[in-house]
């Protein structure tokens, strides 16, 4: 009974890895909502959360990464994100599909990750934009003036996030290879 409660060093490293991912997600969330909540960066409000979710999902694979994407996007939605329920669907499905694509066709490297991050950001923002446009609360011209710059500026965070995720992913590599 007690043997089952024992946590192996490998498991500790897994916990540490996923804790660091979670902290990275929280950091992105805080940066987005607190720091840039009432400030702009290069004229737009950047969107860091999709970047983190996508990077983690791509590095960890469609299953584990997908679960992380599902839980974090749910948390993101419940925290009062402007994107609402759309974020759960988009921030899970697009990274999962991206991860599958990377695994099957593309190499799991920086540039494919950047492309999928851009795709995630673009899809999420476009869906929200279309919904708002459909309900008449958004002018069509803002697609070019707000949406595209937001996607591009948010993607600027991708290299840093990618490197951080790559470093975190390596935690426990020694045990994995054994």
């Amino acid at each position: 009974m007690l043997d089952k409660l024992y946590i192996t060093p490998k498991q500790w490293l897994h916990i540490l890895r996923w804790t660091l991912y979670t902290l990275l997600f929280l950091l992105a969330m805080m940066l987005q909502t607190v720091v840039f909540g009432n400030h702009t960066f290069l004229g737009v409000q950047p969107n860091f959360v999709p970047v983190v979710i996508t990077c983690v999902c791509l590095r960890e694979g469609a299953e584990r990464g997908g679960l992380f994407a599902l839980l974090t996007s749910l948390f993101w939605c419940l925290s009062g994100a402007d994107e609402g329920s759309v974020s759960i669907a988009v921030l899970t499905i697009v990274p999962v599909l991206g991860s599958l694509l990377c695994s099957a066709v593309l190499a799991n490297r920086f540039l494919p990750c950047l492309a999928i991050t851009l795709a995630t950001l673009f899809t999420e923002q476009t869906v929200i934009f279309l919904l708002k446009y459909f309900f008449g609360t958004m002018a069509g011209s803002r697609f070019l003036t707000d949406l595209i710059p937001c996607v591009l500026v948010s993607a600027l965070a991708q290299p840093i996030v990618y490197l951080l995720v790559k470093r975190i992913e390596r935690i426990g590599d020694a045990y994995e290879s054994q």
Binding site: L26, M30, T33, V34, V35, A62, E63, G66, L67, A69, L70, S73, L74, F75, C77, L78, S79, G80, G84, S85, V86, I88, A89, T92, I93, V96, L97, L100, L101, S103, A104, V105
Partner: protein
């Protein structure tokens, strides 16, 4: 595509399906119930974290502004200092105008009481006061119609002194506290006369001495001492108040120590009596007017 199908596992499908279901459920729940308990729970957990993060952000912003906003703050500070100087200058001007207004209002009362007086106002530009001298300079002179021997008073008609030196745009006024100035004066209550001069002998600075008072003169504290009237000093201008009295060295005459009526400590603006009607002046004027008439008579004949 084959590769993609190979990686498209049941778990991945489940995750995608769950994402769609959760998205739908949260959308419906949110639409039906507004803020759900789950949202409340997440917000409750996040609020202290956000609070701490906001606090750190504020500190960093302060530090950033301190480091990078120093130049702009300095420029802003310079601008604000200039503005303060301007505003202070305006306030000073307003204060000066207010004081001048009060002086002129009092002077108006004095003019009503003595409609024969003609005044010229002037500001004190410098003081030249030593232990043995009490004079000051005003910013007006002969250009303003002033002459030596004219009397300076306050807006309340209190004697300040007399112009003793004059230039085109300046004049030196020797105050009543200077020992060189002697003014014929009388006690307002009893009418006893004497001479008032500055007192540097009693050891009390800023006091006047009224001498040559008859021994029968009755002196009381706060008795008013006024000018008796002459060609120089108009009648009944207040010089000071009795604060002490006694017999002089000869023992046959009395003296009185006076507190000057004018407050020299706060004196800024004075009024020079440029003309007034006195018995002697009237007589002089009558003589002056009669002379041309006399002279004109032969011409007229």
């Amino acid at each position: 595509m084959i590769g993609l199908k190979k990686h498209w596992s049941g778990r991945a499908k489940l995750i995608v399906a769950l994402a769609l279901i959760l998205a739908a459920v949260t959308a419906i729940a949110s639409g039906l119930f507004g803020t759900t308990w789950a949202e409340k729970a997440v917000q409750t957990v996040l609020t202290p974290i956000r609070g701490g993060f906001a606090s750190i952000t504020r500190q960093i912003e302060r530090y950033y502004n301190y480091v990078f906003g120093y130049e702009s703050l300095e420029a802003k500070n310079d601008y604000l200092e200039k503005r303060i100087m301007e505003i202070e200058d305006q306030i000073r001007s307003a204060d000066a105008l207010e004081r001048e207004n009060a002086y002129l209002r009092e002077l108006l009362n004095l003019s009503r009481q003595h409609d024969d007086y003609k005044f010229c106002d002037a500001y004190i530009v410098s003081w030249d006061s030593s232990s043995w001298k009490s004079t000051f300079t005003i910013g007006k002179g002969t250009n303003a119609g002033l002459e030596t021997g004219m009397v300076a008073v306050t807006q309340y008609g209190q004697v300040v002194g007399m112009i003793t030196e004059i230039g085109a745009n300046w004049a030196t006024v020797t105050t009543v506290m200077d020992t060189s100035l002697e003014i014929s004066a009388s006690l307002a209550s009893s009418g006893h006369t004497g001479v008032v001069q500055g007192d540097y002998t009693s050891g009390e600075r800023g006091k006047l001495r009224m001498i040559y008072l008859p021994s029968e003169a009755v002196l009381r504290n706060n008795d008013q001492v006024v000018t008796t009237g002459s060609t120089v000093y108009p009648k009944d201008l207040i010089i000071g108040y009795v604060i002490d009295a006694g017999y002089d060295e000869t023992g046959v005459a009395k003296y009185a120590l006076l507190e000057p009526a004018a407050d020299f400590d706060t004196l800024e603006q004075i009024f020079i009596i440029t003309d007034f009607v006195s018995e002697q002046n009237e007589a002089n004027r009558a003589t002056d007017t009669s002379e041309p008439t006399d002279a004109s008579e032969p011409t007229g004949n």
